[in-house]
């Protein structure tokens, strides 16, 4: 027996039902994404906090003990009479002093590698200035920073985001580029903050590098993009082999700002 076609009223009811189901699904998806973003951010934040704690412990704890030890060695050296029978003791103390100096130097370097305290103590701009200056000194690559502070300030998570992105971009430049100049520009004056890092080195095939990342190879570039996305940001790489490498990021300065993506 043929089934009667649904009446327009029935069809309308079914359509409404379908639409509602679709809306509910979209809403669940949105909530799922938001909660994923929250969880991913808090994992990332915990990791940074751990690094910060270790860095501080190394710098302030171990570093201070070493400094105190070096002071004591200096005092002992000053107290030793300048006589031949003390020569051996003097040599040993001088040796201990040079080991102490080297260990202090390494401890500081290790602490900065984990997370430079300057970021927590002084904020993003001094941290970027330090990063640019020390990068330039270490690698002999002329590094310029142009910084415009957001009028509303920038929170700790986003400061870390910018700092880590610049750090990663500079590490790439040092590793692959044979560049002579790097320009870093951060501008927080607009609705969305923008960050650009550009070098004049060899450049690379961005698609190939991203594809390597997806297949479990070096995932520096993909990781940078993922981090920017956690804050509703978008990140582009611009490069052609032989013509430098550039990265530009834009992200909203707060979760509620109009530029924030859902």
């Amino acid at each position: 027996m043929p089934v009667d076609p649904p009446s327009p009223t029935e069809m309308r009811a079914q359509l409404t039902e379908l639409l509602q189901a679709h809306q509910a699904l979209t809403e669940r998806l949105r909530q799922g994404q938001a909660s994923f973003q929250r969880i991913a951010r808090s994992v990332w934040r915990v990791q940074e906090e751990e690094r910060s704690r270790f860095a501080r412990e190394l710098h302030d704890g171990v570093g201070h003990n070493l400094t105190a030890m070096l002071h004591l060695i200096k005092e002992a050296l000053a107290a030793l009479p300048d006589e031949p029978r003390c020569r051996h003791a003097r040599d040993e103390l001088v040796h201990a002093q040079s080991i102490g100096d080297a260990t202090l130097h390494d401890t500081r370097a290790l602490s900065r590698l984990l997370r430079p305290q300057i970021l927590d103590d002084l904020g993003l701009e001094p941290a970027l200035r330090w990063l640019a200056r020390s990068f330039s000194e270490t690698h002999g690559i002329d590094t310029h920073l142009d910084y415009h502070e957001p009028p509303v300030g920038i929170d700790a998570d986003r400061s870390t985001l910018v700092f880590r992105l610049v750090q990663e971009a500079l590490a790439n430049t040092a590793k692959h580029a044979s560049a002579r100049h790097v320009a870093i520009a951060f501008d927080g004056r607009g609705e969305r903050a923008s960050l650009r890092v550009r070098d004049d080195g060899n450049g690379c095939d961005v698609e190939a590098a991203l594809a390597r990342g997806r297949h479990g190879g070096s995932s520096g570039l993909g990781g940078m993009r993922d981090r920017a996305r956690l804050f509703g940001g978008s990140l582009q790489f611009e490069s052609t082999p032989g013509a430098g490498f550039g990265m530009s990021v834009s992200f909203p300065l707060s979760d509620a700002s109009p530029g924030a993506s859902p």
């Binding site: 710098h59 201070h64 002071h71 200096k74 300057i118 002084l122």
Partner: protein, 210 residues
């Protein structure tokens, strides 16, 4: 005698310092503090000539201690003694009002030098900080009152920032102490600052303008 307050949360190091200062002959440690809040409290109570302040301290960070002391106790000068060798810290501390900045593993005699220079009304920055402060002085803003200084006044300005006392400036320039003092006063007046520490802060501030 120069009356000192030492604020550092690291006890071993603080004791080293106190012992060393006790032997100096012209310094007396009137108070010790192990955190930022107690550093401020003790400074207010004891009004030392110089407060030697560490940057990383519990309860109130060194930079906030420096700010509060500068505001509330203008006659107590602040010498920052820290593990941080990055120039950027020195710049921030000068902005906050410090008269001196030294890294902790510098030699004892340099610390004493710093204390004596600051007690005599000067400022003292280690080689690192001096370099960056001076480099900031070389790039003044065009609309700045710096442009109104004569070459001789600029010379005095740079020497003050380098940490020289009036007497040292006079002998370096081959002029009398009175003439050097007059020149310094003109610099202060033209730039609208009150003393050497403010002069250094002014020097640092100019870079922020750009």
């Amino acid at each position: 005698m120069i009356r000192l307050l030492i604020a550092d949360d690291h006890t071993v190091l603080r004791e080293c310092l106190v012992a060393m200062l006790r032997e100096s002959g012209d310094c007396v440690v009137v108070g010790e503090a192990g955190d930022g809040i107690s550093a401020v409290e003790q400074a207010l109570a004891l009004q030392p000539d110089i407060a030697v302040i560490d940057i990383s301290m519990p309860r109130l960070s060194g930079i906030d201690v420096v700010r509060r002391l500068t505001e509330e106790l203008p006659r107590t000068k602040v010498l920052v003694l820290t593990m941080h060798e990055e120039d950027e810290y020195a710049v921030q501390m000068v902005r906050a009002g410090a008269s001196g900045y030294l890294v902790k593993n510098t030699a004892t005699h340099e610390l004493l030098n710093a204390i004596r220079t600051i007690a005599a009304g000067g400022v003292y920055f280690g080689p690192y900080a001096t370099k960056i402060l001076a480099s900031q002085l070389k790039h003044p803003q065009p609309e700045d009152p710096y442009g109104a200084l004569s070459d001789r006044e600029r010379e005095v300005l740079h020497l003050v920032v380098d940490g020289l006392t009036i007497k040292e400036i006079a002998s370096k320039l081959g002029i009398s102490a009175k003439a050097a003092e007059n020149r310094r006063s003109r610099v202060l007046a033209k730039l609208g600052v009150r003393n050497s520490a403010e002069l250094v802060r002014y020097a640092v501030r100019k870079r922020i303008v750009d």
